[in-house]
Each structure stands twice: as structure tokens, then as C-alpha cells.
């Protein structure tokens, strides 16, 4: 970063982002170091959080990549506005909406219930609501990626007789895997941090793989209410370290592939 006014101001703005995080890490690992913050319940909770966030990112990729592509190639302002809705309403409302959606008073809820796929307090419900919440971030990132691409190869493929599906799945996704992975990671990060909708819909998982486990955000909220700041801040610090480590590892792996390709090109 250069030492001019813009560079210094950028550095200050970065510090503004880092400061609260650094404080949580300092108080969690140095000041409080609460044993409860290191309990198995915390690690189970973090495992559930990462697992459900990764599944939601995968689901978002599968469901919303075509929409991102279509939005990048057309001026669908109404569609763009609709895709932004999850980001613009309070998230507890999303939790309530999913409660209604999964209840037997709706045909969809009845269908799910009949097939043993309830949304309330279930891993399935958790992944769905996280996907809904994080979708706008992925859609915008992927849309920007597709918009920035040179259209000529795509148009060539089109005149070769390829339809939009063939172009998207056969050309654009394989050749932009890293960019889409990055968009998915951003979406996963958003899912990891979600609290409002999860606290309403899936306060803890009832039955199955993570039975009795809360997501990290809910667990930290509970700890804060029941035991005070010590365990909550220590657990928060652990969540931050593990989440950042996972995201950095995936970004590092994708960067490694870039270096390999550069070697091949050279």
C-alpha cells in the first residue's frame, strides 16, 4: 500500500475492520481463557456451523449460478431486486417465513412433513435458511464475474450451435472455477456468521448427525446470556480462528492451482 493520503486512509479503514476482531481474540485467548470456551460443545457447534455453511454454499452454487449468469447478460432489474430481498429484510423475519413455509399449514410444509423433512430444528432447515440468507452475496459476486468476462468466446460458442446451458456448464463454469469458488467462499462466510434466522428456525438440531448441537452464533449468544462474557468471548475467538483458517486454506488451495497453471503456461 503506497504512503500517500489514499494509502494511509485505506490502512486506517482496514484497521477499523480488524480492531473489533483483534479485541475478541485478545480477550478470548489472553484475558478470559475460559475453560468452558474450549469445551467439546463449542467444537461440536463450530463443526456444525462449518458443515452447514459449506453445504449451503454448495446448494447456493448449484441453484443460483444460472440466475447469476442470466442477470449478467440481461437488464432484468426486477429479477435483480428480487434476488436482493434476503439481504434487505431483518433476518428473524426470514426465520419466521421459513417456519411458516415448513409448517403443515402450507402444501410445501405438508409435503416436507410427510417425507420426514421438517425445517424446524433440523439440519435440512438450517442449510435451507442459510442458503436463502447467503444467496444474494453469491449472486452478486458471480454476476460481477460473468459481467467482467470477454463475450467473444461465448458468442463464438453460441454461433457454433451451443445454447445457454451448454455455454454455462460446458465453458463458463469450468473456465471460471476459481472465481466461482471465491464467490462461494464469500457466501459460506456469510452463512457462518448468521444468527437471526437460525435463532428462530433452528435453535438447536433435533435428531440426526448433530443432535442437540447449536450453531456457533446461537451457542455464543446462549453462553453470553447464561455464563457472562468470558466463555462467550473465548468461544468467539475460537470460532474466528477456525473459520478464518478454513477460508484461508481453501483460498490458498485455489491460489496454488493458479501457480501451477502459470508454470504450465511458462
Amino acid at each position: 500500500m503506497r504512503g500517500d493520503a489514499i494509502g494511509i486512509w485505506s490502512l486506517i479503514s482496514l484497521l477499523l475492520i480488524l480492531l473489533p476482531i483483534a479485541l475478541v481474540l485478545y480477550f478470548g485467548f489472553v484475558v478470559y481463557r475460559s475453560p468452558q470456551g474450549y469445551s467439546p460443545a463449542v467444537f461440536h457447534s463450530i463443526a456444525l456451523t462449518l458443515f452447514s455453511a459449506a453445504l449451503s454454499a454448495l446448494l447456493v452454487f448449484v441453484i443460483f449460478t444460472p440466475l447469476s449468469y442470466v442477470l449478467s447478460r440481461s437488464s432484468g432489474r426486477m429479477a435483480e431486486a428480487i434476488s436482493d430481498i434476503p439481504a434487505s429484510i431483518p433476518h428473524p423475519i426470514v426465520g419466521i417465513a421459513f417456519l411458516i413455509l415448513g409448517s403443515p399449514i402450507t402444501p410445501f410444509g405438508r409435503f416436507l412433513t410427510e417425507h420426514g423433512l421438517g425445517l424446524y430444528d433440523s439440519l435440512f432447515g438450517l442449510v435451507l435458511v442459510l442458503s436463502f440468507i447467503s444467496a444474494p452475496i453469491y449472486i452478486r459476486s458471480a454476476q460481477s464475474l460473468f459481467t467482467s468476462l470477454n463475450r467473444e468466446p461465448e458468442q463464438f460458442a453460441s454461433t457454433l450451435g451451443k445454447g445457454r446451458s451448454a455455454i454455462l456448464y460446458g465453458l463458463l463454469i469450468p473456465s471460471n472455477a476459481r472465481g466461482l469458488l471465491s464467490a462461494s467462499l464469500t457466501s459460506m462466510s456469510r452463512a457462518i456468521s448468521e444468527f437471526g434466522s437460525v435463532a428462530i428456525l433452528v435453535f438447536y438440531i433435533s435428531g440426526g448427525l448433530f443432535s442437540g448441537t447449536e450453531t456457533a452464533s446461537v451457542l455464543i449468544y446462549q453462553y453470553y446470556g447464561y455464563y457472562g462474557p468470558g466463555p462467550a468471548i473465548t468461544a468467539s475467538a475460537i470460532l474466528i480462528v477456525i473459520s478464518v483458517a478454513v477460508l484461508l486454506a481453501v483460498k490458498f488451495l485455489s491460489r496454488g492451482r493458479t501457480i501451477t497453471e502459470k508454470v504450465i503456461r511458462a
Binding site: P153, F156, S158, T159, L160, G161, K162, R265
Partner: protein, 200 residues
Amino acid sequence: MTIDIDIIAETGGFKLNARFRAAGIINVTGENGSGKTFLLRCIAGLASCQGSRVIVNGRDVSFYPPERRSIVYASQNSYFMSMTSDRHIVYGIDTTRFDRSAVSEVTEGLMIPLGKRMSQLSQGQRMRVAIATALLSGKEVLLLDEVISNLSDGRDVMSFLREFSKKNGLDLMIVSHGYSVPEADLLVRMNMGTATLEPP
């Protein structure tokens, strides 16, 4: 095999007016900004040219999307970096018309390096791969926008294209800037968006 063009279009204040019927190798030439690329993109269905008519071998494709027109448009960036040259040339191949021997003929005729990633090839080699891909797609018209001019042995490539197009009933429109293609059957000169026909 013929292509009938009747295009009146406008984009950003620039007016395009082209009306002709041609077959074989058509050389489109003209100064920068004369409308050569716009003309080809209208024909391919890549530019919005409402009210225009494009008829390929008696079939009116004016209202078809690009993928259904049977017209391939290749420019200087018409290649897929994520592929190998082998995979690229058969992307979109018409297997009902072209078999392994046809692929070999095109590969040898255009001197395409096989087994290479597109990122490893030079710009000229990428253009050859793009031309091979277009030829093997089995479309009826091939539009080459400033593609040949970037090849060091453009004359040899033109000879091969002439031979291949005659054998397979393919019409070619080749945009060239500042020079004429000797193999052309017809010369279309663009001037301020208006096309005039001249003998080659």
C-alpha cells in the same frame, strides 16, 4: 449455396445499409469504423438489427437466435482458453458430416499443434484452432472477422479454406482491413455503413 442479406440497422447513431446476394468466398473490406464488424454481427444474430433479413440457402434465419442460424462468427478472441487444442477443434463438431479423417484433414491443412493447452499457443495458432473448430461445426456460413490477417501464412490458410469450402458447400465472409483477398468471388466494400459490391 447462397446468402441473401438485406440489412438496415442503427446503433449509437451509426447507420448500416447492406443489401446483396452472394456465394462462395466474400471479402468484406473498408476503413476503420466503416461497419464491417457490425455487418457480420448482424448477419450472425449477435447484434440487434430489427427489420433485417438474412437468408441462408433459401432458409430465412432473420428471427433465429445465433445458435440456430447455421452461421459461425469468429473474431480475434474466438477461442476457449480452458481447453486443449484437441478438445477445442471438436467442440461443436457435426459428427453426422465429419469423421476422424475430416478432423485429420483440417488439423493438417491448418497445421494445428495437437495436445497443447490453448494457453500455451500463440495468437496465430489459437486463430487456426478457432478456424478449425468453425469448419468442423458443419455450419453453412463462416464469418471471419480480421482472423486471417493475423496469420503469418494467411495465403496458405486461404487456399485450404477455398478448397474446404468448395468441397463442403460452405460460404465464407472474410473481413480484411486495407487489403483484398485474392481468392474472393465477391468484394463487398463498406463505406460509412453502406455496402457496395465490386468485382474481386
